[in-house]
């Protein structure tokens, strides 16, 4: 009865096509922004890409752009170490928090705990960086100098992506139809059996999406990492060695870079973008191959 209205009332058709146009324009603009950003990065990095062989970004001795050395790999490694390390800490913690809110905590406690996590998600990254620089780095320094290190970057990043993982995992768990859980209870499954056997598989797609989102944030995070990671361009020998990430490389040097140095920084940006694309492509592929 309700959908027959559509045929009776003519203006709806107009609204429909209007909406269609607006939505299409929106979609084109979003896609265009992405394309224009890629184009911009390539154009800006062209002065260096056209002059020197791309192999040098992998084979040069060091990153000293003013002396003509453009090694980017230690920063790529630093970016990966920091974000993977943060994910390794944040995934278990985040999922555990989500399970706690969804199934274990009393409603009152769950409400407050969730508020707290939401608050954590809203703290600007520079505040985390500031806290890291004035509190965390001196603490790590007492343990093992110099303090500004891969470990500090991982810990700060963990704090930043933890709420993303927790809140998306929680929403995914809440979206599991209540009948599933009732059926599981009716079959006499324990609480953990229900979570492990029913809720988790049903919510997996949402949880994975949250993890990918968190990974994107960890890879791209700039200011907080810049303040605590030490920013020395090198392959770290351990958790206490300083690192520099691709994103903080840009923020650190862009303000005063000119000519080839500037173009080389745009190449860091390009590399960062390719890396994020590859990782999200990989996540999509993983998801598909699991379903198959």
């Amino acid at each position: 009865m309700i959908w027959s209205k559509r045929n009776i009332l003519f203006p709806l058709k107009l609204t429909d096509s209007l909406l269609h146009g607006i939505l299409r324009a929106g979609a084109v603009i979003s896609a265009l922004v992405m394309l224009l950003i890629s184009l911009f990065l390539i154009v800006e990095s062209w002065p260096v890409l056209g002059q020197i062989s791309p192999v040098r970004f992998f084979t040069d001795l060091s990153w000293h752009p003013l002396e003509g050395a453009y090694q980017l790999m230690p920063m790529l490694a630093g970016t990966l170490y920091a974000s993977v390390g943060a994910l390794l800490l944040a995934i278990p913690l985040g999922i555990a928090s989500a399970l706690f809110i969804a199934y274990y905590a009393s409603p009152r406690l769950a409400k407050w705990y969730k508020r707290l996590i939401e608050l954590l998600a809203g703290i600007p990254s520079v505040v985390f960086g500031f806290w890291g620089l004035t509190t965390l780095v001196p603490l790590i320094n007492q343990l093992h100098p110099p303090g500004a290190s891969l470990l500090a970057a991982i810990l700060v990043l963990t704090l930043m992506i933890l709420p993303t993982i927790t809140l998306t995992a929680y929403s995914a768990l809440m979206a599991v139809p209540i009948e599933f859980l009732r059926n599981a209870a009716a079959l006499g499954l324990s609480r953990w059996g229900m979570i492990h056997g029913v809720a988790f598989p049903a919510a997996r797609a949402g949880i994975v999406a949250g993890i990918i989102l968190a990974m994107g944030r960890a890879i791209g995070e700039t200011m907080a990492v810049l303040m605590v990671a030490g920013n020395v361009v090198q392959y770290p020998d351990g958790l206490f060695d300083p690192i520099r990430t691709l994103a903080s490389n840009i923020a650190l040097e862009m303000a005063y870079a000119m000519g080839d140095h500037r173009a080389a920084l745009f190449i860091s940006g390009l590399l960062l973008m390719v890396m994020v694309m590859m990782l999200s492509g990989m996540a999509g592929w993983l998801e598909r191959s699991r379903h198959a």
């Binding site: 084109v28 265009l32 224009l36 060091s62 990153w63 000293h64 752009p65 003013l66 002396e67 050395a69 620089l133 004035t134 780095v137 001196p138 320094n141 100098p145 110099p146 303090g147 500004a148 810049l226 303040m227 030490g230 920013n231 020395v232 361009v233 300083p242 520099r244 923020a251 650190l252 040097e253 303000a255 005063y256 870079a257 000119m258 140095h261």
Partner: protein, 278 residues
């Protein structure tokens, strides 16, 4: 359907480009115009001054381009630029040019306030920064590993520091690399075994406000703004505007403005030291 889509897409692309280039070309249509090129250290400061000058003198447009001190000198000599920006004193073979100092740049070595070391020689600083000395014990301090804090590539502070020590950046073995002055001060304030260097203006400001850092004297001269101003502090340099002949008209007007009291706040905001011009 797909045909019209791709046409629309093309149209949007063209619109973007036309808007972009149109914006660039119509910007050149002002009456009084000055071109300044040169040092990337001076350019941000002069850029701020130019913006204020433009607001005070509508119709005047000042174009500030970077490219290094040597470009500033070349462009001024061959007339491409009206005024050059140079981040050092003029050399003896550059006496054909007229220099006007608009600010002074000085940097200070900073240590944590609890560090017992009170002075370092130039050679000791070189050895610490190149990784030959790694423990404070070797220079009369506590038995602790030195944390070497260096500046990011491209910063003028780094350039001046390297020039003073006669080193290349690739010879330095840092444990932490920082961007701006406040970050450097916080890094040293949070680590009793760190050594770093920042603009004297920034260091004095923070030390007065209770940051646990101390400014080391160099060659027996205290690191103070006053000593930068009177020219005795070794790790400092003048920031100059240069012209090929005695400046006239708009160029003269701008140089006078840049050296006047009206720009002292801009100079201090960039952690440079204003010069006293009567």
């Amino acid at each position: 359907m797909s045909m019209s889509d791709s046409k629309k897409f093309l149209l949007i692309c063209i619109t973007f480009f036309v808007l972009g280039f149109g914006g660039l070309t119509c910007a050149n249509a002002a009456s009084g115009r000055l071109v300044l090129t040169g040092s990337s250290t001076v350019a941000p400061l002069v850029g701020e001054m130019a913006r204020r000058f433009e607001t005070m003198n509508p119709g005047v447009r000042i174009d500030v381009q970077t490219g290094g001190t040597s470009r500033g000198i070349n462009d001024t000599r061959n007339g491409t630029a009206d005024i050059g920006m140079v981040s050092r004193a003029l050399k003896p073979d550059e006496t054909d040019l007229h220099a006007f100092t608009i600010a002074l740049d000085g940097i200070s070595i900073i240590l944590h306030a609890n560090n017992p070391v009170t002075a370092l020689s130039k050679q000791q600083i070189i050895d610490i920064y190149t990784g030959k000395i790694t423990n404070w014990k070797s220079v009369g301090g506590a038995d602790a590993r030195i944390t070497v804090v260096n500046k990011a590539e491209g910063r003028s502070t780094l350039e001046l520091f390297l020039h003073y020590l006669e080193l290349k950046n690739s010879q330095i073995r840092p444990h932490a690399i920082i961007g701006d002055n406040p970050q450097g001060i916080k890094t040293v304030a949070g680590n009793p075994n760190a050594i770093g260097y920042v603009s004297i203006g920034a260091a004095e400001y923070e030390a007065e406000r209770g940051a646990p850092i101390k400014l080391l004297p160099l060659d027996g001269v205290d690191a103070t703004i006053a000593n930068v101003r009177n020219g005795t502090f070794p790790l400092s340099r003048p920031l100059n505007l240069i012209t090929s002949r005695e400046p006239q008209g708009l160029a003269r007007h701008f140089i006078e403005f840049a050296r006047s009291l009206q720009t002292h706040d801009l100079v201090e905001a960039q952690y440079f030291v204003p010069v006293e011009v009567n």
